[in-house]
Symmetry: C2
Subunit: 408 residues, 2 copies
């Protein structure tokens, strides 16, 4: 169980530093022993922020806090812990959030509302704010341009590898940097699809423009991945801009932002794919593309029905080209579909066409394809122009093992 | 994998015979070796029929056939095979259905349209009608009042035990009998929730009245169970009435039908529960009750979100009272919910109340409860009067094993 996902990257890039961002990690012993579980990021004055959160009707206390704090668009610090989600913890949970933000505000020298908070881990256990009291001042004093991998590691729960990504891109005459890190690895489904992801740039972009770009970018990245169809109470994606490099940009429609927007989208997709590659128990990375649907929305819903089907996911785990289960999943999606117009591909091999097995179907070729680490499923409905794409992983015995005794 | 589910009944009742119903089984070698895989049921003249089918947009060829045949409300035979679903088999599948019905019609002496067909097993493999040619005449000649367990066994796929149920009840001055049998065991989700179930009575009830009672009865039985959230292409529930005992009843509103209707509902629920108890890999039978929701529909949707959550189901498999995942599932259902009014019970133990862990929560008592075979989860939302109840099983490594190499 502690083994690293076979889909993990083989090397980790060293991320450049971001002007205006310093951080440190600590071992607060919240749940885990002998590993970091608290991350404090200190942001220079002038940092603006945007965020996207879980759509759960039962969000965690930190999510409630961040949503309220976001209205000003200003950020000076981010405190994250792993091991306890501070979700469904009632009044005590709200009090923990209030006290934690106050502690950070004091050492950083800002208002509590400029402090962003995120917690990940078990739900329903009270999170003792005294755990932070012992580390907040210390981490603030140590905060520096540390290796970003250390930040990514401190927020891991059942993740088997840290997830980082970086892009450098022109903004006007300047070259700006975007760094991000994320953690999964279960309760990953739209919407939102990751538990925690944080992105930082040294560019000078106004909060409303950041928000527009983030909300658009999340749609085809974090909101297009699913590990187990379960949506967390804690999903949080924050984008911080320290404003220390390049021209100040006020509007998302500013043409100078085009390369930045493309780089941001690419970074979000990179992180989202890493979350899937580290899905609990995952051994296969699966892309599901649906074309020819009645609409894009319909295509996406069918793609999600396929990506969330336990029978499709177990077949992929078994390296079984069981396209009958794809037909089943298309049929159950409740979207327009005509059995006799359906075509299905695994990779480049068309396995079914016009409502039956492809006459040229080769079991051998398809079986060989199913042994790969990365599987592409494509479905053409033949009804319209709607397209959609989502990513998922297979469902293995390890998923059951990991989640059958996670809490105890 | 071949072991019988630990949730199987310890004894099987011997079902009484039903006047007007004869049957025989055969080994046609469709997929399985050394077991029966074809069932032919011959029904006396005067038999009326009702049916409910999968809502899949990609139904099997036999489902299409039955839906068309049902318009007359008359039945003379039922031919069922296991090992091949004849789904997504295109023109050849339709031809197989047509030829099979013609073969049966010839030996039984009826019109092809009076023959009902059902197939269960792998999707997308052509089903050779010659497989039936070798057994249809033989089974018709042998058809008799056989032990019903033999019928239930012939239609099994990954089922580990045959599922039968029987009721006797007053109808006017007469005592009528209802026998039923069903098979699961994966692709079990509303709507419909079983793959195949067949119910027979000797009562004399007109087809429209049968249909009204069946459609009503399925709502709280087969449409309230889920094993894996996957809806089959083949789900078929048929109710046959031979009309040989008691007074003829034309309308479902006839007061004399009240005991019959109650007995039918009870039999449908009995069979539906057996399907859950034989869910692939199941070791726990789980009832999920949601109360105090905004509406009954909302309660049912929340109950299904809980019952279909892989994280809830793996926690139950791990005998872990992880009520945080219940909160998660309530939150993701997209229905009205107020975190701070939520209360959750495992059995009689309230584990959470008013948005946090119950102050009197006992880990020890709850852990002991989770070791049981039957687990009751109750959620009170505190919003309104809406109620809903569904049944499911846990998600174990055996589910993954069974479905990871079912086809190959």
């Amino acid at each position: 169980m502690s083994a690293v996902s076979p889909l993990a990257p083989t090397t980790f890039a060293e991320l450049p530093s971001i002007a205006g961002v310093r951080f440190a990690t600590a071992e607060a012993g919240i749940k885990y022993k002998n590993r970091t579980d608290v991350l404090l990021m200190v942001l220079d004055k002038g940092t603006e922020v945007a965020g996207v959160f879980t759509r759960s009707q039962c969000p965690s206390a930190p999510v409630d806090w961040c949503k309220a704090a976001l209205t000003k668009g200003i950020a000076r610090a981010l405190l994250v812990n792993s091991g306890n989600a501070n979700a469904f913890t009632g009044k005590r949970g709200r009090e923990t959030v209030r006290l934690s933000a106050a502690m950070v505000a004091e050492v950083v020298g800002c208002r509590p509302k400029d402090v962003f908070l995120a917690s990940t881990g078990v739900i329903g256990e009270p999170l003792d704010p005294r755990k932070f009291a012992t580390v907040v001042a210390d981490t603030a004093s140590r905060a520096a341009a540390e290796p970003w991998l250390a930040a990514a590691k401190a927020i891991m729960t059942t993740d088997t590898f840290p997830k980082v990504a970086s892009r450098q891109v022109s903004l006007g005459e300047a070259t700006v940097t975007i760094n991000g890190f994320a953690k999964g690895a279960g309760m990953i489904a739209p919407d939102m699809a990751t538990m925690l992801a944080f992105v930082f740039t040294d560019a000078a972009i106004a909060a409303p423009a950041l928000q527009t770009m983030l909300s658009a970018g999340v749609k085809e990245s974090f909101n297009a991945i699913t590990v187990d169809s379960d949506t967390s109470t804690s999903d949080t994606l924050l984008l911080f801009a320290t404003g220390q490099v390049g021209p100040r940009v006020e509007s998302a429609r500013d043409r100078r932002l085009a390369p930045f927007r493309a780089a941001l989208d690419s970074l979000l997709l990179d992180l989202a794919h890493q979350v899937v590659r580290d899905g609990e128990g995952a051994r296969k990375f699966v892309a599901v593309t649906v074309e020819g649907a009645a609409s894009d929305r319909s295509a996406r819903r069918i793609a999600l029905a396929i990506a969330n089907s336990p029978l499709v996911k177990t077949a992929i785990a078994g390296e079984d080209a069981n396209w009958g289960r794809i037909v089943m999943a298309v049929g159950k999606a409740g979207e327009p579909a005509d059995r006799d117009k359906l075509a299905i591909w695994f990779g480049d091999t068309r396995v079914a066409v016009k409502g039956e097995r492809d006459p040229d179907y080769s079991e051998e070729a398809t079986s060989a394809y199913m042994k790969r680490d990365e599987i592409a499923i494509r479905v053409r409905l033949g009804l319209g122009e709607g397209q959609g794409r989502v990513w998922t992983c297979d469902l293995t015995k390890e998923y059951v093992a990991i989640n059958g005794d996670y809490r105890s």
